[in-house]
Symmetry: C2
Subunit: 406 residues, 2 copies
C-alpha cells in the first residue's frame, strides 16, 4: 500500500515550482523551473540512497539495485515538464508513483533480483521543443540523438544547449535501452472515466497521431482600397480550410479528432490583408489505416481550398506516431487486481501520447489512468480526486509486486 | 512645374531608411528608422531656410512664411511612417510633394500673403500604435492629447515615451489648429485607377471605417482525449465566425469590405485546444448609414456564433471614422486643371483613411491619387509610374497656384 500523505507532500512541493496564480503549473522543458523540479527530484532520490544516473538526453534515473543487476530492469515513470499554463497532475503523478513504489520497497526491505528504476523523461510535452516524447523516442530508436539534440524552441535554442545550461547533460551509457517492464500512471486528460463513474482506467493502447503545419501565402494588401474579389487573403484561405476540415471531421462522426492549436497571420496588422497564414493540424485515430486515410483527406481539403482561394500552400509533416497496443498480459493482470480489490475500473484507449508509447517497443508496457475530474487537461483547472489517485497507485504497486523477479 | 529629378533623389534616400531586402520599407512610427527619416526631412527643410516647428504630437512643420503670417496657412503633407514591410510610396510621396512645391515657390521667388506649410504627421498608419491618423485626429479634436500620448504599442511603450526617446516631443503652441486649405497627394493603394487607365485620381471623399477586436473564450484542453463534441474550442469558434462574416459580406455583393488582419490563438501549442482566440475586424463602406448597419450585423453574427459554439465573446470597438466628403470646389478645380493639361483623370472615393480625413474638419481639403501599378499597397511590391507621379504633383502644384493668396 502506498503512503498517500507522503506522495501529497511531494506533489505540493512540485506544484509550487512554476506554480501559477490560477493554481496551475507553467514548467516548460529545460526551463529554470524544470531545473528546479529536477533538482528536487534528484534530492529525493539521494535521500533514499538510490543510484542517480543522468543520460545524454537529460533523462533522470533513480535506481534501486537488484541482487542481479545484469537482469533487465523494471521501470516506472513519466515526466516533470508541463505545457504553458498546464496542470499540477499531468506527468508529475507518474514520476511520484514510481518513486513512492520504490520507497515502499525500501521501507519493507523487499529483496529482488532485477533493478527497479524510476525515470523522469525529458520534453515529454513537446510544447517547448515541438516533438513530444522525443527522449523515449530516442531510447526506442524512433529518433536519432541528433534529432533530439538539435531540436530548437521558437527562440532558436537547441535541446543540447539547454541541457548544458541547466546541468542535465549526462552520459550516453546511462541510457536504458532494454527493460523487462514499463509502467506509467497518468491522468486520463479526458472525460471518459469520470462519465463512467470509474476510479481507474486500464489502458489497452494509444491512438495514433499525426501533426502538420499548413502555410498559405497570398498577397499582403491594404484593407481599404482592395476590392474583395481582387484579394489574395491568406487569412481567409486558412479560415476556409479550417472551417471545412472541422465540418468534415464532425460530419464523419467517427473517432477522428482534429485540432488547430496554433493559428497565426502575417504581417498581423488590423488594416493589412494577411499575406501569410500558418496553422497547425493535429489529427488522431486509434486505427492506423483510418488515420493514414484521414491525413490524406486532410491534405486534399487543404490543397483544394488553396487552389480555390488562389493561394499557394505548403503542408509540412511535423510528427507521426502510429497507434500502439500494450501488453494484453498486463492489462489482464490489472483487471484481475481491480476485481480482487473492488476498484471500479474500465478498459480504454488513451487519447494522448505518452512515453509508454515508445517504451512499449523496448519493454512489456502498460498504463493506468486516473480520472480527470472535469475531463480537462493542459489547463490550469486540471483536477483529480486523491481517493482515485490512491487506488490507481495501489493498483500499480500490486502490479509491480506481481511482476518483480525475486 | 515640379522638378521630378530632385524629387526622385530625395525619394531614393528615404526608401533606403528602413529599406528591406525585397525593395520595401519597414519604418514603424517613432522607431529608430522613423527618427532617421525625420532627421533627414528636417535637414532638407533647413537647407531651404524654412522655419521648422515640432509640436507636442511630434508633427513636423516646414514653414515658408507669407507676407501676412496671421492669415490661415495653406498646408500640404502626409506621413513618413510605414506599416511593417510596407512600400516606398505610401505617405512619403505626399510629404515630398509638399516640400517640392515649396522649393518651387522659393526658386521662383513667388510672393504670397499666407504661409505655406509642409507637414509630416506622426503615426498615420496606426500599425505600431493602433489608432491610425491619430495626430491629425488630435488637431481636429477627434482625440485628446492624452488619447494620443498614452497610446501603447504591443510592448507597452507609449507614444509619449517614444516621442521623448527619439527627440520629437515639441511644443503644443506649434500645432496648426486651423488652415485655409489642405492638399494631400497619395498613392491610390488599390486597382481602380490602373484598371481605368487613368493617370490621376480626383478624390471626392473617403469611405468610413470601423475597427473592432473580437475575443472568444472557451476552455484550453488536450487535443488527444477530448471528444470533439465535448470541446469549447475558441479557435474553431473564431474560425466559424470569420467564415460566416466573410460569406455574408461576399454574398451582400455591395461595396462593404471586411478584413481580419490579426488572428491569434492561445496558448498557441499544437496539442492544446485553444482556450482563447482573438481576431480583428476592419469593416468599411462609403455610406455612413450602411456602415453603421453593417457593424451591427457583424456584431450579431459574432454573438450568434459564440452562443452556438458555447464560447464567451467580447467585442471591443477600436476605432470609428465616418465617411468624409471633400470640398466640391476643389475637386471641380482639379477636374478643370486635368482637362486643360490633358491629364487622364477620374473622380473616385478613397478606400483608405488619410490625415486629410481629419484635416477636412479644420481646412478646405482635397486629395490627389497616383495610380498603384499592381493595385497593391501595404506590401513591399508597392509600385507607381514616375510619369503618373509627375502629372499628379504638377496637378497639385497648379491647384496651389490657383489657391494661394497673393
Ligand atoms: N500526454 C501528453 O500530453 N502527451 C503529449 C503528446 C500528445 O499530444 O498526445
Ligand atoms: N493610408 C492608410 O494606410 N491609412 C491608414 C488607415 C486605413 O486603414 O485606412
Amino acid at each position: 500500500r502506498v503512503n498517500i500523505e507522503r506522495v501529497k507532500q511531494k506533489f505540493n512541493k512540485l506544484a509550487s515550482i512554476g506554480g501559477t496564480a490560477n493554481g496551475g503549473v507553467h514548467r516548460l522543458a529545460l526551463s529554470d523551473e524544470d531545473r528546479e523540479a529536477r533538482n528536487l527530484f534528484v534530492e529525493w532520490l539521494k535521500e533514499r540512497e538510490l543510484e542517480v544516473n543522468i543520460d545524454d538526453l537529460g533523462n533522470i534515473y533513480g535506481i534501486k539495485k537488484g541482487t542481479d543487476p545484469s537482469l533487465p530492469p523494471l521501470v516506472l515513470g513519466s515526466h516533470l515538464d508541463t505545457v504553458p499554463y498546464g496542470g499540477r497532475f499531468d506527468g508529475t503523478l507518474g514520476v511520484l508513483t514510481g518513486l513512492e513504489i520504490i520507497e515502499n520497497l525500501i521501507d519493507e526491505n523487499q529483496e529482488h533480483t532485477q533493478s527497479v528504476i524510476v525515470v523522469n523523461f525529458t520534453n515529454e510535452e513537446g510544447a517547448r521543443f515541438p516533438k513530444p516524447m522525443i527522449s523515449s523516442g530516442v531510447l526506442a530508436n524512433k529518433y536519432t540523438t541528433k534529432d533530439m539534440h538539435m531540436l530548437r524552441d521558437v527562440t532558436g535554442k537547441t535541446i543540447k544547449d539547454e541541457l548544458d545550461r541547466i546541468g542535465y547533460s549526462g552520459k550516453r551509457e546511462n541510457r536504458i535501452t532494454k527493460a523487462d517492464k514499463f509502467f506509467e500512471l497518468h491522468i486520463e486528460q479526458g472525460p471518459a472515466l469520470i462519465e463512467q463513474g470509474a476510479s481507474a482506467g486500464i489502458v489497452e493502447g494509444i491512438q495514433g497521431l499525426s501533426w502538420h503545419q499548413v502555410t498559405f501565402e497570398g498577397d499582403a494588401d491594404h484593407a481599404g482600397p482592395s476590392p474583395m474579389a481582387f484579394r489574395k487573403d491568406a487569412g481567409v484561405g486558412a479560415v476556409k480550410a479550417m472551417y471545412r476540415l472541422h465540418e468534415w471531421v464532425s460530419s464523419a462522426g467517427d473517432e477522428t479528432m482534429i485540432t488547430f492549436g496554433k493559428i497565426k497571420t502575417e504581417p498581423d496588422v488590423v488594416n493589412v490583408i494577411p499575406g501569410k497564414a500558418v496553422f497547425s493540424v493535429d489529427i488522431r485515430h486509434p486505427d492506423p489505416n483510418i488515420l493514414q486515410r484521414r491525413v490524406e483527406e486532410m491534405k486534399q481539403i487543404v490543397i483544394e481550398t488553396s487552389l480555390e482561394t488562389r493561394l499557394t500552400n505548403c503542408i509540412e509533416d511535423l510528427s507521426y506516431m502510429p497507434p500502439v497496443v500494450f501488453s494484453s498480459d498486463l492489462t489482464e493482470q490489472l483487471e484481475e487486481i481491480c476485481l480482487k480489490e473492488s476498484i471500479p475500473a474500465v478498459r480504454m484507449y488513451s487519447g494522448a501520447g505518452h512515453d509508454a508509447m515508445y517504451m512499449n517497443r523496448i519493454a512489456e508496457t502498460v498504463m493506468v489512468f486516473v480520472p480527470s475530474l472535469n475531463g480537462k487537461s493542459h489547463n490550469e483547472a486540471e483536477e483529480s480526486r486523491w481517493e482515485d489517485i490512491e487506488s490507481c497507485m495501489n493498483l500499480t504497486a500490486e502490479l509491480v509486486t506481481l511482476s518483480l523477479h525475486s
